[in-house]
């Protein structure tokens, strides 16, 4: 496909073609190629970004208190934002939610157990 465009009054002849899955654009004798290589780079970048979410996923006590209710079981799949337990502290009821999707690998606390701030409550994988 050939086309001519004007930028600030100067005409440019542009030729666009597709060969072996790559798009070639010729402008003023210079050739630019876009295709598989760039796609591969893009896909690597896309998959490397969420890696952090798949590191060890621990749900920790944000405050010292007593676990008053546990809503999940080991082996259960939890979704991000799902309520996993209630931690009572100074008459505040703290609904603890998972920040990640994952399988409940281990529940390290029981109902009515006291926990300190920072204690690991649930491990996801």
């Amino acid at each position: 496909m050939r086309l001519r465009i004007n930028i600030k009054g100067k005409p440019y002849d542009i030729e666009i073609s597709e060969e072996e899955g790559k798009i070639k654009i010729k402008v003023g004798g210079k050739e630019f190629s876009f295709g598989r290589e760039e796609e591969e780079k893009t896909s690597i970048a896309k998959t490397s970004l969420p890696k952090r979410n798949f590191s060890k996923k621990e749900i920790k006590a944000p405050v010292t208190g007593v676990v008053s209710k546990i809503f999940v079981k080991e082996g259960e799949f939890v979704k991000s934002d799902q309520k996993v337990l209630i931690l009572s502290a100074m008459k505040m009821e703290n609904e603890i939610i998972s920040e990640n999707n994952g399988l409940v690998k281990e529940i390290r606390v029981k109902e009515n157990q006291s926990v300190n701030i920072g204690d690991v409550l649930i491990v996801l994988k």
Partner: protein
């Protein structure tokens, strides 16, 4: 002050949590004339017939330590509003119940009285505090309590022999909480 009035709710805290998850603005106050399933800590039922004052406030995002302090201060604010308006002598049972009618006890540590106000803060927490509501149940214009609660609870109407203005009390408590949170968050 933005206030949403309901003639009846299961629980003002439950409604406030629901509204909070739908991006309701902080400091929205949810008021119900009566609650059909009002509750306190660990879902212990809170007697909530017509006449009482039941409300929950959606709090701005705050540090968990500040919320803890605020919950205790809310009892103090409620007690102060009762004292200033009605010349009664409320007591705070820590962390956050307000009692009336202290009976002198030989043991200094034991406070005896009838509950007039209860407070429950509920937070939703992930890596940080996502939402917080503070719920207050104040026994204002309640004529009488069921037999099983008669020795444990009282109301302003029972103590004063007259009705009180729920809206005025509501606004004073909400303003007090606003001021205190601003102070402790500084």
């Amino acid at each position: 002050m933005e206030i949403k009035y309901f003639s009846q709710l299961k629980s003002t805290n439950q409604k406030a949590k629901e509204l909070s998850s739908k991006e309701a603005k902080p400091w929205l106050v949810v008021v119900a004339e009566k609650q059909t399933a009002g509750y306190g800590k660990e879902k212990v039922p809170w007697f909530s017939p017509q006449g009482g004052l039941y409300f929950s406030i959606i709090l701005p995002k705050s540090k968990i330590e500040d919320l803890q302090t605020l919950t205790i201060l809310a009892a103090w604010i409620s007690a102060k509003v009762i004292k200033d308006n009605f010349n009664l002598e409320p007591l705070i049972k820590l962390p956050n119940d307000v009692l009336l009618n202290e009976k002198p006890s030989t043991r200094a540590s034991s406070l005896r009285g009838k509950k007039i106000c209860g407070i429950l803060t509920e937070n939703i927490i992930g890596k940080e505090v996502k939402s917080s509501v503070i719920g207050i149940g104040l026994n204002t214009n309640i004529d009488k309590f069921p037999k099983e609660l008669e020795d444990e609870a009282t109301s302003l109407k029972i103590e004063l022999g007259r009705e009180v203005n729920n809206e005025k009390i509501l606004k004073q408590i909400v303003e007090g909480i606003k001021q205190q949170l601003a102070t402790i968050s500084e």
